[in-house]
Symmetry: C2
Subunit: 210 residues, 2 copies
């Protein structure tokens, strides 16, 4: 398998964590988002959305959208399970994952911040306030109440919820969003930091890190 990603993309970061937790190896192919490599024809042929990550399977199949990729990996290699088999618990796990993947991350993605700067002519201060607003309000502030247990979001082992939460916390720290009022989220962060699968997936550990 081959993973097209970018060190700082939190969607690619999610897939790296999932691959590591499952002990699955994938060749890493960096796509430089700031230089616009995702908009070149070669990459658009792999993903018409022009977004990372893309997982290329050995038979040439191309999978896009980080949560769809992780659901696929969970079916391919069920242990350790990232989506619980109990349907109600699975719904709660997926709700946190989607609250991050739908309601925080896309609003703070590079292409959206570029639109705010280039099309709507907002400066650094407005853009920073925008990022922190969506990170916290209706974002991590709500997710704090959706976390059910410890040390991970849903008990003794990490699920898709933790896999999505850690890259979002990385973004929050990058944009200096305050997290002191979110003790459950900080506890999950500490628990995940103990696991090599999460540590090896960190943006700083990748060949394209700057």
């Amino acid at each position: 398998m081959k993973l097209y990603g970018y060190f700082r993309s939190s969607a690619a970061y999610r897939v790296r964590i999932a691959l590591n937790l499952k002990g699955l190896a994938a060749e890493y192919a960096p796509v430089h988002l700031v230089r616009g490599e995702q908009r070149q024809a070669g990459f658009l042929a792999k993903n018409p959305q022009g977004l990372v990550p893309v997982l290329e399977l050995d038979d040439g199949s191309l999978l896009t959208q980080s949560l769809a990729i992780i659901e696929y990996l969970d079916a391919l290699q069920p242990e350790p399970r990232l989506i619980p088999t109990d349907a109600l618990l699975a719904a709660k796990v997926r709700a946190i994952a989607l609250a991050i993947a739908c309601d925080i991350h896309p609003l703070n993605n590079l292409r959206v911040l570029d639109y705010l700067k280039n099309e709507l002519h907002h400066g650094r201060e407005d853009v920073g306030a925008w990022v922190r607003h969506w990170l916290l309000k209706g974002g991590l502030d709500s997710i704090e109440h959706m976390i059910e247990s410890a040390p991970f979001c849903f008990g003794a082992s990490p699920t898709l919820a933790d896999v999505c939460l850690i890259p979002q916390i990385f973004n929050a720290r990058r944009f200096a969003a305050p997290l002191e009022h979110l003790p459950k989220i900080k506890a999950v962060e500490a628990a995940c930091a103990e696991l090599p699968a999460f540590r090896a997936a960190h943006p700083s550990q990748h060949s394209d890190a700057e």
Copy 2:
């Protein structure tokens, strides 16, 4: 079951379609988003995110996030299947659903348009251009290339991809986004319009429609 929704919320519209396709009945409880009912304490106790839809089960369990709810319904009542059992096909179906649910819809949600108007002081013209930009570019323009077959996105029966696409097309028409260059999407729209499950879920068919 009880579905908390808003007639024009495309996330609630997705869940209505899924319930109808599966022949599952749910009491409808309108939450008036424009009047801010989703930010009242009573509703925040059901969903800390302050978003619709919420599905309340008969045992009092509260499910949030439309795609998590639909995955739950697909496990509860597997026929007709909205997420294929084949893992690779499921990944492609989920990729279209997520391309809509992550990369189009949250950018054009009421709370984001309100932020553009009230916090960043943009007028109707800028907001309309924003909506159409995310609807088409990296949105429906890319999804056109991800649709694999006819009459539905993935063959002879609707999947989660169609369930997400139809409400997004409704939004596109509301904001006068041009769709003439998207023949596959228009064909899916026509096929779904033939099905009572999709017709009965339309925003105009709900008690809170204005």
